[in-house]
């Protein structure tokens, strides 16, 4: 026995922790998104990557500026601003002026997070809030999509518009599969939808890779599988019913699942733990509600894409859902609350 004892700490139990931490969860999500980002860059070229960078820069800048100095290391280190910027960037049109993407990133973090008190306190998904703001603010720029498969290093002049200046589009805009469906009742080739060779934003095109990323997250236990499953379930049921009623007018369930931002939203955004219900039952309600709203807005509403609004609306209802879906406490029979 040594003469003097080691200096003992008095950390309370439990001493053991499971391996995952908040930053590592965020990192996992970013990793899961990377294949889709790479594929998107392949289809849309360098410009998509620049848009992504601008939105991440905007998000990180605001996060950095509004975090008290002593907390900055943590706030930047927890990867959450990076993830928000990335998710936002993946929903933007590839030829969006960079300054708009930057403003979007700033709004996402500023309005979506800082004002609420930082990570974990916000009730709305920051990335989607940033996108909703951009869509409301710059409706034309946000709905001008470019076609995939142009030269990799082509930088359209709209991309480099000066701050506060309107972009000038030099290429003919391409419609997204959803736009084609909404305004011209035209379907799109399913294979293209699957691999992502369609018009749209960087992250919403390649359904296959998004699903793969989602499976990775599920395997890593980083995501509540109930939410995407519930969203898909509700959307498939609702759209199948409509499709059976009038297949010429309404899109089928497969189209609904693989077009637009459905997968990106269902797998990566609706599952944001901060803004989705805590309880498993709540997660089901949240998912089913979002799935119904997506189809409602897509089919009967004014916008071709409803994923963003569906999730934001369900975010708004999350406190209520959480309140009424508290689990039944062990040993307390039918008593709820």
């Amino acid at each position: 026995m040594k003469s003097n004892d080691p200096h003992l700490r008095l950390l309370p139990a439990p001493l053991l922790r499971q391996g995952m931490t908040t930053p590592s969860a965020m990192r996992d999500v970013i990793l899961a998104l990377l294949p889709a980002v790479i594929a998107g860059t392949w289809f849309f070229g360098l410009k998509a990557l620049l848009v992504l960078a601008a939105s991440i820069a905007g998000a990180m800048a605001v996060e950095w500026a509004f975090t008290p100095i002593e907390k900055r290391r943590n706030a930047i280190g927890d990867n959450s601003a990076l993830l928000t910027g990335l998710l936002l960037g993946m929903t933007l049109p590839p030829a969006l002026p960079l300054w708009m993407a930057f403003v979007g990133g700033m709004t996402a973090i500023g309005l979506g997070k800082v004002i609420w008190g930082g990570l974990g306190t916000n009730l709305f998904n920051p990335a989607l809030l940033g996108r909703a703001f951009l869509l409301g603010t710059f409706p034309i720029a946000m709905t001008t999509w470019s076609a995939p498969g142009v030269g990799f290093f082509d930088l359209p002049s709209s991309l480099l518009a000066l701050p506060f200046q309107s972009p000038v589009y030099d290429a003919v805009a391409a419609a997204t599969p959803l736009g084609l469906m909404k305004f011209e009742q035209k379907g799109s080739d399913f294979l293209n939808l699957l691999i992502g060779n369609t018009g749209g934003s960087l992250g919403e095109t390649s359904g296959l890779l998004l699903i793969l990323g989602g499976l990775y997250l599920w395997w890593r236990r980083d995501l509540d599988w109930r939410i995407p499953v519930a969203i898909a379930l509700a959307a498939v049921i609702f759209s199948s019913a409509l499709y059976l009623a009038d297949s010429a007018k309404y899109p089928g369930p497969l189209f609904t699942l693989f077009s637009g931002g459905f997968l990106l939203g269902a797998i990566y955004m609706a599952t944001d733990p901060v803004t989705s219900p805590l309880t498993p039952r709540g997660a089901w309600i949240f998912g089913l509600g979002a799935g119904l709203l997506v189809v409602l807005i897509r089919v009967f509403g004014g916008f071709p894409e409803g994923m963003m609004y569906a999730i934001l609306l369900m975010n708004a209802a999350t406190p209520l859902i959480d309140r009424y879906t508290q689990p039944r406490v062990f040993g307390r029979g039918g008593e709820t609350k």
């Binding site: 004892d5 990570l119 062990f330």
Partner: protein
């Protein structure tokens, strides 16, 4: 989920799966720690009223002699772990850092420390109150860690009847193997103790619940049970906190003990394997509770071991016997890593409830950066009581303790599953403890 669960596995819902870390000690037979010079026996080694000393300073003691009697119904007796003499009665350092009344005993270096076996007690002839008094006399408490006086559980009101005796061999805390070894090495005593309880309580059957990470113990028990039909062994999947009474009942019987009620309200009596063995020892050999099996383990322990330790032995001496601590040791925990309490000093004694002495190093005790709660819901999925730890932590931070009460704060048993599961390193259990203490310390409230 619940349907599948009940079809394929017998377990409770929620809970966590910490790494077992039992391999270090699982195959080590129980060794006896030699007697040392000094012993400290605190008066309050159990839940309830402390015992009352019946010896004086300077008085000579025989090993096994009663040194303190029960201080009330919720109290049990204490016995001297060694032959020696009383050298002091007064406040001694307790493992929580405070000073509590205790009896200090100096061992007689020349004594044999042998207890003459006494004839088996005729427990079958005893009335129930006599039996309860005997158990109290023997100083037997729940050996799983909580140290709840055992006789209290046996005093069943007339209106109730125990149908089932459930022996808790789950040992769900990581690192600990003391119950495991006990089942391996003393299966006969375990079955004997179960038999006594069955007969005295008039119960129909007994089940020994063991987690499936102890296949050897299950096999040995089954072999010893032979063709007995009233005692059986049930295999449970590994899960924490399966060893908690109510969770074990949920796992074995698929029944929930209603909040605020006790297992006996369902006609079930739950005892730890250590407790049952102690019962057998007392009634068969007259050996009171003066020693117990302790697992010494953890990354900081030089030579992990399973030991029989006389109560009152200072932790330092126990560790010395098995090679001491490694230099990297940063924390020593009494009990399991999930619910045990850290000790600030190695001079504190081993108590009736000390199931393990675990030494941890830098790697386990590093305070990870605490991140804000991202409401991921992992704590909800971990909580075996279906509480909402995330909300408790938030409310506790905002000091809204009264509101927490409305969400059944007091149902929490502080098993630590939520904190284990939290990816943001939030000390949820600590916050809950603070809130509970705050609520309890308020005057004029029940």
């Amino acid at each position: 989920m619940s349907l599948l669960g009940s079809l394929f596995q017998r377990s409770f819902r929620h809970g966590v799966h910490p790494e077992g870390h039992k391999e270090a000690t699982v195959d080590l037979p129980i060794q006896r720690v030699p007697f040392v010079q000094r012993y400290v026996m605190p008066m309050g080694q159990h839940i309830g009223v402390p015992a009352k000393a019946v010896v004086k300073v300077g008085q000579a003691l025989r090993r096994g002699q009663m040194i303190a009697e029960a201080g009330g119904f919720m109290s049990t007796a204490l016995h001297s772990p060694v032959t020696g003499k009383v050298v002091g009665i007064g406040p001694y350092r307790h493992q929580d850092g405070s000073f509590k009344p205790a009896i200090e005993i100096e061992a007689d270096p020349y004594a044999t420390q042998r207890i003459e076996p006494q004839p088996p007690k005729d427990w079958e002839a005893m009335t129930m109150p006599e039996f309860v008094a005997e158990v109290q006399q023997a100083g037997i408490v729940g050996m799983g860690g909580a140290a709840f006086p055992a006789h209290v559980k046996y005093s069943i009101p007339d209106t109730q009847h125990i149908d089932d005796v459930l022996v808790n061999g789950a040992e769900c805390e990581p690192y600990l193997t003391n119950d495991h070894r006990l089942m391996m090495e003393r299966p006969a005593a375990l079955i004997r103790g179960t038999e006594i309880l069955l007969r005295k309580l008039g119960a129909k059957r007994a089940i020994i619940g063991v987690e499936d990470n102890k296949p050897d113990a299950i096999e040995i028990l089954r072999r010893h049970l032979g063709s007995r039909s009233n005692i059986s062994v049930v295999t449970l999947p590994m899960k924490y906190p399966q060893g908690a009474e109510k969770m074990l009942i949920r796992a074995v019987y698929d029944r929930e003990v209603p909040a605020g009620q006790l297992p006996r309200d369902l006609g079930i009596l739950v005892n730890n394997v250590g407790t049952v063995v102690a019962i057998a020892d007392w009634f068969d050999t007259g050996m009171p509770l003066i020693e117990r099996v302790v697992t010494v383990s953890g990354p900081g322990a030089a030579y992990p071991a399973n030991l029989i330790v006389p109560l009152g032995t200072p932790v330092r001496e126990v560790l010395r016997f098995c090679g001491g601590l490694k230099d990297e040791t940063r924390e020593v925990v009494m009990g399991g890593p999930m619910m045990g309490a850290p000790t600030a000093s190695l001079d504190v004694p081993v108590l009736k409830g000390t199931s393990g002495i675990l030494a941890f190093t830098e790697a386990e005790t590093r305070t990870g950066t605490e991140y804000p709660c991202i409401r991921c819901g992992r704590c909800l999925e971990a909580c075996p009581y279906f509480l909402n730890p995330s909300r408790f932590a938030r409310l506790a931070r905002a000091r809204l303790f009264d509101e927490m009460k409305g969400f059944h704060l007091m149902d929490c048993v502080e098993c630590g599953s939520c904190t284990f599961a939290c990816p943001s390193n939030i000390p949820i259990v600590q916050l809950i403890r603070t809130a509970k203490n705050n609520l309890r310390s308020r005057p004029n409230e029940k």
